[in-house]
């Protein structure tokens, strides 16, 4: 029994450390006797129990014991403690975790005073491998009471949340990017809004630059920044694509995949550090294109988190997603802009047509007004003639009024076409209208369609009026059987118009002794107005008047 007890006693110190994998072995092999805890044989039962639980656990755990908080940890904790192992074993926790000590000191003190804590996904920048790393842990500090009621140490269970936290914020950033760029109206908006969105994740990207490739293909301009001022030595606003830029933008634009640029601090002085204590050491340049085949619209430069886990490819993958997202937004806005340009030009066309219609309406109003005044003036002149010549020389009055009406009628004709001229036939018919009423069968009008400018139309109209009234007084219309044949042709050689007014069946015609106003108007006035020749041939069987005019 005693022997047995003794045997147990001798085995006991090592027995509680039995198993426990690598760390069990390490603790067994450790020379505790020279440290503050002394040899394991003398360790309190609570510590032994804690270590047994810790070593058996698959969860990363540590135990800090005694006033010095001597450090124990298990196999599962090895990846967390990283390069600090194996030196961290048996060391006071304050020395092991000097870089985060300030952050956790109060909670440690609280735990040693008997107060348990639970911290969820807390960021800890650990220097476990000789450089700072951004990590996230959920951990609980549980005080371990001794038999006397005092706290002998702390046991802590850890969960590594680093991947979960970083993954979640990257996803959030991609969502932010999508929702921000959704508001973009123009491609420039996409750049600016993307830069704003990138500001939501400064830990992954302490600063970012977005360059747009200009249409000339020779330069790129800075369209968005986050975490760095445009114009900073690392953020030139204009980059010539001749390889002179400190960033290999031209390489990326020329179809290269992403490029990593290291040793940033050597290239650029005074780089912003973002949320970190140190400036970024490297950056990624990514083409803004929706696929490997698509032409890049620009280049995204993402400064990388200086505290990111080395060798972790997840940042590169994430950066590629960011670039792809921005590129998609650009491409879809390009399509939208193109659509809008098309719509706009259609709008402009509509506006132009509306404008033209308005001008036409205005012109019509002016012409109406002008015509109104002309007609009112003619009406006034007519009224004056009627009044003045009431009792004298009735034929003279009627001849005058007839001319006035001929003039007025030609005005009407031109008004119908907004003073753009009138057809030759229209002019003829309008001029002959007072006589046609009663002599429809005695008129023969035939000729090709010809358009006359207003000046010629008025002159020709008045000339026809004079010819017809002459015919009524002396010619084919002065009896009941005469006819008038009006025909015109266009010469195919010189394009001149030749017109023949031929009277048949009237009384015998004599050469007039004197040329009255009407004939003179035809012979001289018309010739001048139409820049042509007018010939009057008073043949006994009827007058033949021929015109030769330039159109």
């Amino acid at each position: 029994m005693n022997l047995y007890l003794n045997r147990r006693m001798t085995l006991e110190p090592r027995e509680f450390l039995a198993g426990g994998g690598e760390m069990g072995a390490a603790i067994r092999a450790f020379n505790w006797a020279e440290g503050p805890l002394g040899a394991p044989d003398g360790w309190p039962q609570t510590l032994k129990t804690c270590l047994r639980i810790m070593l058996a656990s698959r969860q990363p755990m540590w135990v800090w014991w005694g006033p010095e908080l001597i450090n124990f940890y298990n196999d599962a904790y090895l990846p967390i403690i990283g390069g600090k192992h194996p030196g961290a074993l048996g060391l006071p926790a304050r020395e092991v975790w000097h870089e985060i000590w300030g952050q956790i000191r109060e909670r440690i003190a609280g735990a040693m005073a008997g107060e348990a804590t639970y911290s969820e996904a807390e960021m800890l920048v650990m220097h476990r491998n000789g450089y700072p790393e951004e990590t996230y842990y959920t951990f609980s500090f549980s005080p371990v009471p001794e038999e006397d009621g005092t706290v002998g140490g702390i046991v802590c269970a850890n969960t590594d949340d680093t991947d979960r936290v970083i993954g979640a914020r990257r996803l959030a950033l991609l969502r932010e990017l999508a929702s921000r760029t959704w508001d973009a109206d123009t491609v420039d908006d996409v750049y600016a809004l993307s830069a704003k969105a990138l500001a939501a994740d400064p830990r992954d990207m302490p600063f970012a630059l977005i360059y747009r490739l200009e249409d000339d293909g020779a330069k790129a301009t800075l369209r968005g920044t986050t975490g760095i001022a445009a114009g900073h030595v690392a953020a030139p606003e204009l980059v010539a694509l001749d390889g002179s830029s400190p960033w290999p933008i031209s390489d990326v634009i020329r179809g290269g995949p992403r490029r990593a640029v290291g040793r940033l601090a050597e290239k650029f002085a005074g780089l912003p550090t973002g949320p970190w204590a140190d400036p970024p050491q490297d950056a990624l340049l990514l083409p803004l294109s929706t696929s490997a085949e698509a032409a890049p619209r620009g280049v995204l430069i993402l400064a990388a988190n200086p505290y990111r886990r080395p060798g972790d490819e997840s940042f590169e993958n994430f950066a590629a997603l960011v670039a792809r997202q921005i590129a998609s937004a650009i491409v879809s806005i390009e399509a939208f802009e193109a659509e809008r340009e098309r719509a706009k030009s259609a709008d402009i066309l509509v506006l132009e047509m509306e404008h033209r219609r308005r001008i036409e309406r205005h012109q019509n109003l002016l012409l109406d007004e002008l015509n109104h005044r002309v007609k009112n003036t003619l009406a006034t002149v007519q009224a004056m003639a009627m009044q003045t010549l009431k009792d004298v020389d009735l034929p003279a009055r009627d001849a005058f009024l007839a001319r006035l009406f001929a003039l007025s009628g030609q005005h009407d004709l031109l008004t119908l076409d907004n003073w753009e001229g009138a057809s030759f036939e229209g002019v003829v018919r309008r001029a002959l209208r007072p006589w046609r009423e009663d002599n429809r069968a005695r008129f023969h009008v035939a000729g090709p369609a010809v358009h006359l400018d207003p000046k010629k139309a008025l002159a020709l109209g008045m000339a026809f009026h004079e010819l017809a009234s002459n015919a009524a007084r002396y010619g084919a219309f002065s009896n009941t059987t005469g006819t008038v044949h009006v025909s015109w042709t266009i010469s195919p050689e010189d394009g001149r118009l030749k017109l023949v007014w031929e009277e048949r069946g009237g009384p015998q015609v004599a050469q007039p002794e004197r040329r009255g106003f009407g004939l003179r108007l035809i012979e001289y006035g018309l010739a001048r107005e139409i820049s042509g020749q007018v010939h009057l041939d008073f043949r006994p069987e009827g007058l033949i008047c021929t015109w030769d005019m330039k159109l």
């Binding site: 109104h372 002309v374 007519q382 009627m386 006035l404």
Partner: protein, 119 residues
Amino acid sequence: MGTKPRVLIVEDEIIVALFMEDVLAEFGYEVAGVVGHLDEAAAREPDYDMAVLDVHLNGRSVFDFADALTVRGIPFAFATGYGERGIPDRHRARPVLQKPFQPEDLRRVLEQIRPAQAA
């Protein structure tokens, strides 16, 4: 003769109005009056059986007054230098006298609109 139809002349060209007065008298109408302003025309007691309306009087169009005549059932014709294009649809059916017009034209139009009971 009390049976002569009374015609109101709405015309701002005084010479034209005088001419119309003469022509109307010649054709057996009585001129109820000549007005050159729309306000004057609108304010006037309807002491006439029919009217000839110049379309534009001193820059204003006569159509409001034409509406008033339509409501009162007083027949009228337009006199205009514009042609029918200047006449709104609601008055398109009214006879239009193209200025300048012959006395004959005026007589024809007046006969068109002359109320039967005044004939």
